[in-house]
């Protein structure tokens, strides 16, 4: 081990994207002595650096910023708070109280009082969907195409079909159109939009790009470069309807079919993961199954808005600092349960500590109108909220008041009742 470096920090944060920057700032502000952010890229900012479109920051800053602008504000805030940033450094392995990292200057072992996981997410691929057909070039995930165009200045293709109506896919439909490509269709398997309604309006409708709901790609052709995709409508069980196939000539297929929390590092540390969110199982402190390890942002569960990520991550950072100082409260914890109409609830448990209100984040299974959200425990209603419109693309929240948190004595259920289901 001669020559190998070791460093001890109160709080180590993995990832300098919006989650990590916010967590680091908050950890430092909460009194942590030294806070170190480990970032594999050459610069901080994470995925926001390639999200050059506007739409960020309305909740946190009260104005509409582009991704790079939003990132820059948090880079400054983290630096001003005194968090240290180590770029070009990849976290390889999480051990009990140690993080092994690699950079061109060697291996460094970071000993931590608390660790915050903020690695973000990755895109689902063609293989996750089982799209049969050829394997030509010209098939990209939407985020990869975004990186090639916005960061590399490359041109990816001319005649484009997009599978999946996720936000990145719709944003890329607009971006490609502005870059001179012809986006022929956005094809969505589900009978409803996967992303936000405003992105359909400003990215598809503005440019007359057709959205085909309840359709999917059933075949791909092209020996070298992609030459066409075949699409077909699907029945209510989402199976393609035979005889209704339509071939669309194109040289590019973008996939915007969902994001998956990037938890390979968490796995090396034996952190318990949720099979639904595919992120760590946490309590309201964002504390994982390893009490010294916290998680926030898209590594925890895929968020709709970066503003939510920043807020949630600040809590994770602050709690990590408290834990490192031995000051995080402990009390019995009770599980949260996704009731009817709810896909998941994050956090997965609530510690019955009455220090603060607890916000539960959740997503619905179906879109609807005149929806009521209810949070109950043992027959008692802890929180409730009404919403004129809701969709699985939007992350919903309910706040349990701190008195109710302190009085918890059983599981907490969240359910959703639509006045009208839109699917």
């Amino acid at each position: 081990m001669l020559g190998m470096k070791t460093k001890t920090c109160d709080v180590v944060v993995v990832g300098a994207g919006p989650a990590g920057l916010s967590a680091a700032e908050a950890a430092k502000s909460a009194g942590a002595g030294n806070v170190l952010i480990v970032e594999r890229d050459a610069a901080a900012g994470g995925i926001l650096r390639q999200c050059i479109h506007p739409g960020f920051g309305l909740k946190v800053f009260g104005e509409e910023l582009t991704g790079p602008e939003y990132a820059e504000r948090y880079i400054e805030r983290a630096a001003a708070a005194g968090a240290e940033l180590l770029t070009g450094t990849t976290a390889l392995e999480l051990r009990d109280r140690e993080l092994v990292c690699a950079s061109p200057s060697g291996i460094v072992n970071l000993r931590f009082g608390a660790l915050v996981l903020a690695m973000g997410c990755r895109e689902r691929t063609r293989a996750n969907l089982v799209i049969p057909g050829a394997r030509p070039s010209g098939i990209y995930t939407a985020g990869t195409a975004q990186k090639l165009i916005n960061l590399f200045g490359d041109k990816v293709g001319r005649e484009v079909v997009i599978l999946g109506s996720g936000d990145i896919g719709m944003i890329m439909a607009r971006r490609l159109t502005l870059e001179g490509a012809h986006v022929k269709a956005v094809v969505e398997l589900l009978p409803f939009l996967a992303g936000l309604a405003r992105n359909k309006a400003q990215c598809l409708d503005d440019f007359g790009i057709p959205l085909l709901l309840s359709h999917t790609v059933v075949d791909i052709d092209g020996v070298d470069r992609l030459t066409s995709v075949t699409i077909a409508p699907v029945d209510e069980k989402r199976r393609p309807i035979p005889g209704k196939e339509e071939k669309i000539a194109c040289d590019t297929l973008l996939l915007s079919v969902g994001l998956i929390p990037e938890n390979e590092l968490s796995r090396t540390g034996g952190i318990a993961l949720s099979p639904v969110t595919r992120g760590p199982v946490v309590n309201q402190f964002k504390q994982t199954s390893n009490p010294a390890v916290f998680a926030c942002g898209n590594v925890l569960h895929v968020n709709d808005l970066v503003d939510h990520v920043s807020v949630e991550s600040a809590e994770a950072g602050r709690n990590a600092a408290l834990y490192a100082a031995g000051a995080l409260p402990s009390a019995p914890a009770f599980p949260t349960v996704a009731g009817p109409g709810v896909r998941y609830v994050c956090p997965q448990s609530v510690v019955a500590d009455g220090g603060e209100d607890v916000t539960l984040f959740f997503r619905t299974t179906l879109p609807g109108r005149r929806t009521e959200f209810l949070c109950t425990s043992g027959g008692k209603v802890l929180a409730t909220r009404k919403s004129p419109r809701t969709s699985p693309g939007t992350m919903e929240q309910l706040v349990i008041p701190k008195d109710a948190v302190a009085a918890l004595d059983g599981p907490v259920e969240v359910r959703c009742e639509h006045g009208e289901v839109l699917a």
Partner: protein
């Protein structure tokens, strides 16, 4: 004239119904905030969008500089703006907010850097 508008001001995406005869007479309903009301009225008369793109830059380790317009521009100017952005090359150090093109294509909005490089 009647129009259904999906508001893009915030992620909520309110569905706003607008009915109008002239600029002075626009009735909107379904919005949840004053910004939404203003947005819906603009959509009836002169839709506007913030334009964003990335332009070439000569900076160490970077090839592209993200840019935006300082204010929304007329929607039908988006494509001309994108075409003009292709020809832009920036040199040297840039701070976020630095003006790259003043009154970009006569839209009244400046094209500004959205990142410090």
């Amino acid at each position: 004239m009647k129009k259904t508008i999906t508001c893009t001001v915030c992620p909520r995406g309110c569905e706003i119904e607008a009915e109008y005869t002239s600029a002075a007479d626009i009735a909107v309903k379904g919005h949840s905030c004053p910004r939404g009301e203003r947005y819906a009225k603009d959509e009836c008369l002169a839709p506007k969008r913030v334009f964003t793109s990335s332009v070439r830059i000569d900076a160490p380790g970077r090839r592209m500089l993200p840019v935006r317009t300082s204010a929304p521009v007329a929607k039908d100017m988006l494509i001309p703006c994108a075409e003009a952005a292709h020809g832009i090359r920036v040199e040297g150090h840039v701070n976020v907010g630095d003006v790259i093109r003043r009154d970009f294509l006569g839209t009244g909005a400046d094209l500004v850097a959205s990142m410090t490089l």
